[in-house]
């Protein structure tokens, strides 16, 4: 039995088709990354799996039950939405205890799990602060903690690291991996793909336009803008590339993500000492833009 199974699922809001004919299946412990720009239908697909909204056509099943039967499926599922969904007038502790109670957890278990997770996310000091006083990044950490305390078998994550610093983002990825849950992870950032495990579904305008491994998806990625940081500001010859050097930084626009290793080799061959390579901007070319 699949943890999550979507069969030709579509969702309309009035005249807007938010999701159209999407299918996938996720076994227990597997991860699926939903990649696409704003308005691609990623969040709607997550909400369909959560059961919060019902499909206009097709079906979504969670461990064999219709996802829309929330009273049955909600005990195995946690959702971190893009707006955190925490109560601003309550403290972090009160928020976590409230949700813990609704998941049938004991107070001591909630506090123990929260202490451990918030400690790892460097947010334990905020336990007695009102959520409304916290930064977006800290709220995101609390929302992730809330989602994980019930030890869900399915985790639905909508841009869970959007406002986190790199250290916290890495810790979040470690936490969700340790949860051993089946994960649906929505993101619009290509650089996240390198840091996550699992298959990738490329989405645009509500449709699945590609499905595969990281390598397969990267071959679809066009017009990648990357930044290469060098150890020193030695001038590098980059005539073949669409690139410019500003001191220790080289900003290059590549036709495909697959060209990144070639560019790095070229820089090294020209005497450059590469410290890091990071994505600045990327698009999925014509596929992503739907042209």
């Amino acid at each position: 039995m699949y943890a999550v199974e979507a069969i030709n699922v579509s969702k309309n809001f009035s005249n807007i088709r938010a999701v159209e004919g999407v299918s996938f299946a996720l076994k227990q412990g597997e991860h699926l990354i939903l990649l696409g720009p704003n308005g691609a239908g990623k969040s709607t697909l997550l909400r369909l799996v959560s059961g919060l909204i019902k499909p206009t056509a097709g079906s979504v099943k969670v461990f064999g039950n219709e996802a829309s039967n929330v009273e049955e499926t909600s005990s195995v599922l946690s959702f971190v939405s893009e707006n955190y969904a925490l109560y601003d007038n309550l403290t972090v502790r009160e928020n976590l205890l409230f949700f813990g109670t609704l998941y049938g957890l004991e107070k001591s278990d909630v506090l123990e799990a929260s202490n451990e997770m918030l400690g790892r996310l460097d947010a334990r000091e905020y336990l007695d602060r009102k959520v409304g006083e916290l930064s977006r990044g800290t709220k995101q950490k609390i929302a992730i903690c809330r989602a994980l305390i019930s030890k869900p078998r399915i985790l639905l994550l909508d841009e869970p690291t959007a406002f986190l610093d790199p250290y916290a983002a890495e810790e979040v990825r470690r936490l969700i991996k340790e949860s051993k849950a089946s994960i649906l992870y929505a993101t619009q950032r290509l650089d996240e793909l390198n840091r996550l495990e699992g298959k990738i579904m490329l989405m645009n305008k509500g449709r699945s336009i590609g499905y595969g491994t990281l390598e397969e998806i990267l071959s679809m990625v066009k017009d990648v803008e990357i930044e290469v940081t060098l150890l020193n500001d030695k001038k590098i010859r980059l005539s073949y590339w669409k690139a410019r050097q500003e001191g220790k930084r080289i900003v290059a626009t590549l036709k495909s993500a697959r060209e990144i290793p070639k560019l790095v080799k070229n820089i090294v061959a020209n005497g450059g000492e590469v410290v890091s390579v990071s994505y600045l901007k990327e698009s999925l070319g014509s596929r992503m833009r739907g042209t």
């Binding site: 919060l52 909204i53 929330v70 009273e71 939405s81 109670t101 609704l102």
Partner: protein, 258 residues
Amino acid sequence: MNWKKIWAIAKKDMKEAFSSISISGPMVGIPLFFAILLPLFTFYISKYAGTTILPQIAGISVNYAVGSLYFVEFFTINILGPIFMTMPIITASVLAADSFAGEKERKTAEALLLTPTRNSELLLGKILASLVPAILLTIAVFIIYASITNYYSTSSYGIAIFPNMSWYMMLLNSPFLALTTIGLVVLVSTKVKGVKEAQQISTLLILPLLVIPFISIFGLAKLTFMFFLEMLLVLCLISAVVLYLSVRFFDRERFITS
């Protein structure tokens, strides 16, 4: 039914409401204002304005009307009574609108609706969060109002006006007025976008109550024990129907997407 979950929802909602001054301020302030102002107003009219008003509305002689205990009784039951009965509606509408439409407005509804909580538990928790403070506030305001009124009536006429049967009946009506209001908010919560809309719709329930003083003044009905008993029975029926419909037609998807 898991009462632990129900109380957790109720406690959370009450805590949220009372920690926000924009909600707790008017909710406590307005009834208290009326509780203190209305009895003072009654005695002002009884002593100074009764000569012109009461003979017209109650059909009694000026001599009998001026400064009479009868006037105070008539005014506290027939005029102020129905106004007093708007308190549970105002309080319940503020709390219920925040509890239901507020979750939607603050975008916290998704996380709550995804917890393993049955619709009945969710709604009961939220209904209690609005009902309990509404009743307690109504009783508190009644006690303050009655105490001030009794202070003046005993010092002026040597007799305490409260408690009396009509007022007991008005108090008995209060929970059902609050329940009807809450049920209406639940019903409209899937249609409205925010707290203000929900409050505006639910406070429409005040209008029929404001008609009651005129019914009395024009002699169409006497606000006796029987009148309030009949009102209680009708309200029981209405609140039961509204609550049944609100629970029956509560739809999680429509609640978050409307």
